[in-house]
């Protein structure tokens, strides 16, 4: 069964699923910054543990659903299908040599290791492997291939492209096992979405988003399992991974070092900015965009509609422009996002707004639409990012409603300072 056939779209909410498990698109800038933030909060050892566990859990959910949908029953079928799914997602091509007791895995092209070396390798030396996602995936695949309990297998990476080894290598060994939790699947997600409502410029936003979602259908890993698109490396990735790592890290800081909460929340919001600047920015400046939508006008209301459409096109949910006064105020609402269903299912009702990614993203959208001279073909460099986001703050964002807190929808208000 082609992997493409396992895709589903909840069109009115711009949410994408693979065999009923949510997935979204993120670029390597966001992925690397996200993982770095988790390690900053927890330290390298606990950071790697939390990231690997989150990936393990997320891929168990996904692969369990994929195997059931595809009718894959034997270990060989399941391992083969799993590695194809992983490559299709742009996560890389991993070879598994495993049994029910463990084994080994290797790859010369994993998204995280490859992208880390490409982005940072010339500037920073790294001692720790970076492919916790692949480690978690390898463990989940092995367990499910041999019908083992959750956490019956653990995987550790001991060589990595990012640490200047020629290949990434993993060892898989017996774990302790625990009960798995019910997946956060489409049925669960549907419990936490509000009816889709129309925003400003809705027809244009919806048309562009629809075109982008259609374009993304053809985006999948190449022969190395990597996706180079829009001048970034893209992955189809699992919100379960992002959510479990972020919320475990934030909760840990809240429990053990409350003075650090402001910093960790700011960093997770910053990750949203990194995503908008790099992913949205590169999409907007790409020839694909120019071919689908046309050259950029640079007019703020146009750019805001484009950014909102991109968010939907990447599967982030039904974001809409509720209010927009250029240079003064932006109100983005979301009748769905990929953070709330996970948070509500895992942790219950939040005491405060917890949609950090979208908080950062909406702030960045305001800056991008107001400040960037799009018609002058800006170079989206680190230096430009610093120019835009550092220095005297021009805007602030407040999340005034949050689905994690039990509100019907989420609302993000960006005001000029």
């Amino acid at each position: 069964m082609p992997i493409e056939d396992l895709r589903q779209l909840l069109a009115e909410q711009s949410l994408t699923f693979l065999a009923g498990i949510p997935y979204v698109y993120h670029c390597h800038h966001y992925n690397l910054f996200h993982d770095q933030t988790i390690d900053d909060a927890l330290g390298e050892v606990d950071g790697a543990r939390v990231r690997t566990t989150a990936a393990h859990n997320a891929f168990r959910e996904l692969l369990g659903a994929v195997f059931a949908a595809a009718g894959a029953t034997t270990p060989a079928e399941r391992i083969s299908l799993a590695t194809e799914v992983f490559a299709w997602m742009g996560q890389g091509r991993l070879s598994l040599d495993v049994s029910g007791a463990g084994g080994r895995a290797r790859s010369g092209s994993l998204h995280y290791g490859f992208a880390w070396r490409e982005k940072y390798g010339a500037r920073v030396k790294r001692d720790e492997p970076t492919d916790a996602v692949a480690a978690g995936f390898a463990a989940a695949t092995s367990e499910l291939a041999f019908d083992l309990a959750a956490d019956a297998i653990t995987a550790t990476e001991h060589r990595c492209l990012a640490t200047r080894d020629p290949e990434c290598e993993f060892t898989l060994t017996a774990g302790k096992g625990h009960l798995s939790r019910p997946p956060v699947d489409e049925a669960t997600v549907r419990r936490y979405v509000a009816p889709a409502i129309r925003g400003l410029d809705e027809d244009r936003v919806a048309a562009i988003a629809s075109g982008l979602l259609e374009f993304m259908r053809a985006v999948h890993g190449d022969e190395r399992g990597l996706v180079a698109a829009f001048n970034v490396f893209v992955t189809a990735h699992l919100p379960g991974y992002y959510n479990e790592t972020v919320y475990e890290a934030v909760h840990h800081i809240e429990r053990t070092a409350p003075a650090g909460v402001a910093a960790v929340e700011a960093l997770v919001r910053e990750a949203g900015q990194v995503c908008v600047f790099n992913t949205f920015g590169n999409v907007l400046l790409s020839p694909e965009w120019e071919g689908m939508v046309g050259p950029l006008s640079g007019i703020p209301t146009d750019m805001m509609a484009f950014c909102t459409a991109i968010a939907r096109g990447l599967g982030f949910g039904h974001w809409l422009i509720h209010e927009y006064e250029p240079r003064k105020r932006l109100v983005i609402q979301a009748t769905s996002n990929y953070e709330a269903p996970f948070y509500r299912t895992r942790y219950g009702i939040a005491k405060k707004p917890r949609s950090y990614f979208v908080q950062g993203a909406t702030l960045a959208m305001m800056l991008l639409c107001e400040t960037v001279r799009w018609t002058e073909r800006p170079q989206l460099t680190n230096a430009y990012y610093i120019d835009l986001f550092r220095g005297k703050p021009r805007y602030r964002v407040e999340q005034t409603r949050c689905a994690t807190r039990g509100d019907a929808l989420s609302e993000y208000v960006v005001d000029a300072l």
Binding site: C27, H29, E118, K119, G211, F215, A218, D222, R224, L226, A228, N231, V232, F233, N278, N282, L285, P287, E288, E290, G291, M292, V293, G294, P295, R377, P378, Q379, L380
Partner: protein
Amino acid sequence: MTPPRSALTREVTCIRSLAWRTDLPTAIDWPRLGAALEAAGLARRPAVGAMQRFATTGGDQVSLIPTTGRVQFRVHYTVPERERRFAAERLFQLVVRALHRS
């Protein structure tokens, strides 16, 4: 032969030196240019809206947008960084020669 409006320049890119561009007059014969690129050994890939795409056997890509004249050269990410500019220049020359033939 209609020369490019601009020389080969570095495109907006987040991955170092992978994407380059030039601009052509919109009034050129784009179907003939596309045919000339195919005759030169590039494989035509599915279009994305108004954007036409061609790929080399090595995975490099040339994208043409006739409505604006934009041409992007995308060097495959496996090309070592020190060689990417040269790879882009070869793609640029390919388009120049194809323009000449068309």
